[in-house]
Amino acid sequence: MGVLKEIIINFFKEPFTELHPFVKKKPKERFRGRILYEADRCIGCRLCEKYCPVKAVDFHEKGRIDFDMGKCIYCGLCRDVCPVKCIHYTHAFEYASSNKEKLRKNLV
């Protein structure tokens, strides 16, 4: 009986699925999306590079770091170890690309 009841109720319900590309879905507040790096506050300590488990952080010089989002596993360790907290997560999640260079370019 249970399933039959569900079927009848569901006839009169709004669809459960979301119309994502047309109605933009907002991620939850703690969502870890693309990394945002504040270049001017960075002190160049290289801790983020040292601790990244998948070597996704390319340290060129103080204030110029590339986070390779193609490699990143969104673990959040670089943000946690940064002494001046200049690494943040944005809510951006739609940046899939077949061009790897685009994934390496930073959101600043």
């Binding site: 249970g2 399933v3 009841k5 569900e6 601790y51 488990p53 998948v54 969104y74 959040g76 997560y89």
Partner: protein
């Protein structure tokens, strides 16, 4: 009558993961089974080596997408054991809540697949809709739906806010009634009964012989639950039943998991009630120079075991034994003599997770082989 060898897989023999079963058939009956594994070997143990424990935890949690908190938790238990570190009450309770939420999500995922396997797609969709609520909770609490990465050694990344406590309880309330209905449906529906009753029976003796663990063992009458025999987190202070059933067929395994979901809900409710108001400690990097420890937790599929050896602050050797690794061999025994149509149902009813079980294991009966570690790595490229 001649023998006929039929390959099932490697593309998705039961669950959506690769494994090849070579079934020797006589008519419709399976005479013998040959298993081929290793399609998704990732060499994670090798990846863990040379990393420090903070980094390695994130890699370990990526061994399995469904039980990522279990892997994290087992890893952390090992490391905290090594450091003799005690964590505070709130952290323990939150970890327990998340751990049980993961069990619910995993069991519902599996129950859905099971229904899909026998062609009952309506129930499959309903079960997965309920699971969606749990995944939303994960997104709200941990930030991600799949690889949650909320645990830290000695602490947690995020606390649970009072709003989220409410969300958790609301989600459980809305799920409870419906899951009861679905469970009744599984019990009563004629099609499900025909497909599952008496199929893939595992007796207690066989279960012990083949070292079955987790829900599969409990469905065969073995009281095996790490949460009870070796309690961690808050399990020692919480009232919960370990559900044990005797019959051990696919139907009982399905019902057992559905009942475990209800048990998990009870655990979560108790934990939320017990949450103290203290703060969780701030994250700090782990300072560990040397040590060796083992740790185990009860993952949704059974006991998950970790061994870690740390030298100079880096992991020197890691060994992971996932639940599926312990019981996959039993397929060779229970598939013998069944009808070919029952094979996917039986494989699925064990709830195997192939991609996390793929480890290198060298066992040679006929001759001994001695190798140095370097030679071994070269030969098996790990």
């Amino acid at each position: 009558m001649h023998d006929f060898v039929m390959p099932v897989g490697p593309q998705s023999p039961a669950l959506k993961e690769p494994m090849l079963l070579k079934l020797k058939l006589e008519g419709e009956e399976v005479r013998s089974v040959d298993m081929r594994l290793g399609y998704t070997h990732k060499g994670v143990e090798g990846l863990l080596e040379g990393k420090n424990v903070d980094q390695a935890m994130y890699v370990a949690s990526r061994i399995c997408g469904i039980c990522s908190i279990s892997h994290e938790r087992a890893f952390i238990r090992t490391v905290e054991d090594m450091m003799k570190k005690e964590v505070n009450e709130r952290v323990k309770l939150i970890r327990t809540i998340l751990f049980e939420l993961e069990r619910i999500s995993s069991h519902l995922l599996w129950a859905g697949f099971m229904m899909h396997e026998i062609g009952f797609d309506t129930l499959f969709q309903y079960l997965w809709r309920e699971r969606e609520g749990v995944l939303d909770l994960f997104e709200s609490i941990c930030g991600n739906r799949v690889h949650k990465n909320i645990c830290k050694i000695g602490s947690l990344r995020y606390d649970i806010a009072p709003v989220q406590e409410r969300e958790v309880l609301d989600c459980l309330d809305s799920m409870q009634e419906k899951l009861k209905d679905y469970e009744d449906e599984i019990k009563k529906n004629k099609v499900i009964k025909e497909r599952l009753k008496g199929v893939g029976k595992i007796s207690k003796k066989t279960a012990i012989e083949y070292g079955l663990i987790g829900p599969n063992a409990r469905a065969s009458g073995i009281d095996n639950d790490v949460r009870r025999i070796d309690p961690y987190d808050s399990y020692a202070d919480i009232n919960f039943k370990t559900i044990v059933i005797k019959k051990g067929d696919a139907m009982e395994r399905t019902l057992l998991r559905m009942r475990e979901v209800h048990e998990s809900m009870g655990i979560i409710r108790q934990c939320v009630e017990m949450l103290p108001s203290e703060k969780i400690p701030k994250f700090s990097l782990t300072n560990i120079k040397e040590g060796e420890a083992i740790g185990r937790v009860e993952a949704p599929r059974g006991e998950l075991f970790y061994f870690l050896k740390v030298e100079d602050g880096l992991i020197r050797r890691a060994k992971v034994r996932t639940p599926t690794f312990a019981f996959i061999k039993i397929l060779e025994k229970i598939l013998k003599g069944v009808k070919i149509g029952d094979v996917p149902v039986i494989v699925a009813s064990l709830d195997p997770c192939f991609s996390c079980m793929e480890r290198v294991l060298v066992a040679k009966e006929d001759r001994e082989e001695w190798m140095t570690e370097a030679e071994f790595r070269r030969k098996y490229s790990c």
